[in-house]
Amino acid sequence: MLLLIPLLPLVGFLLNASFGRRVSKPAAGAIACGAMIASFLVSLVSVFRLIALPADARAIAQQVFTWISSGDLAVAFTLRLDPLSAVMILVVTGIGSLIHIYSTAYMHEERDAEYARYFSYLNLFAAFMLVLVLGSNFLVLFVGWEGVGLCSYLLIGFWYEKKSASDAGKKAFIVNRIGDFGFILGVLLAFVHFGTLDFQEIARSSAALGPEAAFGTMSLITLLLFVGATGKSAQIPLYVWLPDAMEGPTPVSALIHAATMVTAGVYMIGRNAVLFSHAPQTLTIIAVVGVATALLAGTIGLVQNDIKRVLAYSTVSQLGYMFLAMGVGAYAAGIFHLYTHAFFKALLFLGSGAVIHALAGEQDLRRMGGLKKDLPITYWTFLIGALAISGVPLLSGFFSKDEILYRTYASGHTLLWIVGLLTSLLTAIYMFRIVFLAFHGHRAEPFADAQDRHARPPQSGSHEAAHAAHLHDAPPAMAIALVVLAVGSVAAGYVGLPQALGGSNRFEKFLEPSFTAADVRSTPDVPDDGAATEGLELGLMAVSTLVAVGGIGLAFFFFLANPRASDRVASQFPGLHRVLMHKYYVDEIYDAAIVQPIRIVSEDGLWKGLDVRVIDGAVNDVAGTVGGASALLRRLQTGSVRAYAASLFLGVVLILGYYLWR
């Protein structure tokens, strides 16, 4: 039963990959969407069966086969459904289905073969993502982990004729290599330390040990795993790939680079909550990195002009929130935010996709404006998404974000809480900057001279009427997806209504078993007593509500009512504005660090040097990545037999020298 969930999209992939070029577009789209929807239905049935079980025995496992067995050690290919993975599969298949449907309309201009290729990648991605969240041990998870990465690169570089697209694909690939390097080391170390790769057994044996007071093996394991998570989930310092990944088709950005794949790092930490809980040092690092990323990305998002880039930085920022939640031990709150974020961020991306689609590929916010009239469905749904992400009360984002902030405050991290709140203000500002710039006001200038990405003939003149005639709101397939997601963005939060508002926080209760070891279940540390905490929670809610509304107000003041003001502020702080425009020069710093001659002093130096070069490769050709060393080695290969013989002999002499020296 569980196996069917990832298997259905896989079948869809195989069908489209083998026969896709021979069938028509509707058929290819139908295969892909059908596979996803079927998978969603199977997921729903599985989750209902899971809920029917008693609360502390909620897990369905299906061992597909024994993968490796060697002596006393066995790793099985086992899929396991527990509350955490239940949430994840519903998000992946549900939102995945919607995005598949949306794509049928969005990609309709592609040729048949390309269309089938697109859907086959999308289905393959879904299959790997489902393997990732259903896997019961690190090895199965890693299969999904690498698989989604591969699909992500292929989809980012989908429009490979565009150089920026294939460069972005390379960058994502390279940055993720660094992350995966840490991840696989963490997995290997965990394997040797615990003698198993099964999540439950690791949880059990780490629960038996006390939390590590000093930096020990568990801290090292968790830290290495976290390095993997920073790569996949775009956190400092490996976040640079995600904004560039927006070169892919917009539905891909929505599915992979907003709703699902990038949350894999968060999921992985949640999955190993018990292990991470026993490494407090790592948790602190995670919380700090998370909140720093949230702030950094939020400030960058403030001044970007590409609509998708703003959303990308917003994603990075929201992921930072999730890591903050993980870092302060509020795993359920983090997953809750992951879940609500999937709705509204997918909605925002799809909405921006509808805008881009209507404007024939235009992505620059400065060239948009006044679209409210022409794209009503897009406008209203986008507005709902923006309200949700800004944390306006009664929408989903409010509940989840507030939960994180409350838990941060409650755990005594006041500084982190303040930064989190500040980021929340930024979120509201940059989101409503998009809303006001794109949908309100007037179009600043005709977009006739815009680079036409779909190679349409240039628009003639600047007559509003001409545009109005051309502009069309989202076609039905896109509109359906938008509306469903908008409803989700409003309603999704109510499953986790906090107690302070009269709810019972069912979502967290549901997830709780996933974050505790099976045998040694401690009492959940959710403070569910006393009016004092409730009062505190309500107070904090009021503060964040004020912040959200304040942010929207600020955006209104700067970008709609008084657009000059924003320019004035920008010109008053030219340095700051420039720094933000250039994304803190991070790309440039990574770049410049390589231009410097690389000091290979010690093994450590070599290692770091290599990393710096590797990041540089994001900018240059992959082949030039470790260019220097590689070119040097090539020079050594002179083609002369005598040189080869000398090398052979040199080896002998070196070994001999070692023995004499010893």
Binding site: R634, R635, Q637, T638, G639, S640, V641, R642, A645, A646
Partner: protein
């Protein structure tokens, strides 16, 4: 033993310094002969005839190898009209 060591070193140096393929090849034969001397000397010292058997095998195989090697060098010579090792640089880097 010393003789064999000396032969070995002469052979190794020969391989690295000489330019003519044939002479390099002869240097390699020197190395093999050094091995044979070693084997036979040890065999006599240890009163154990396995070493001599080994030496005979080495001689036989070296002969076969020489035949093949000369064939290869001949084919090379036909193509390139040279036996200078340094002119052999079609493939590098």
């Amino acid at each position: 033993m010393l003789l064999s060591a000396a032969l070995f070193i002469i052979g190794v140096i020969g391989v690295m310094v000489r330019r003519n393929i044939i002479i390099i090849f002869m240097s390699i034969e020197l190395i093999l002969n050094a091995v044979n001397i070693n084997l036979v000397a040890f065999s006599a010292q240890l009163q154990n005839n396995v070493g001599q058997v080994f030496a005979i095998f080495v001689v036989a195989v070296a002969a076969a190898e020489a035949a093949v090697g000369l064939g290869i060098i001949l084919a090379f010579y036909r193509n390139k009209e040279t036996v200078n090792i340094d002119e052999m640089n079609l493939m590098k880097w």
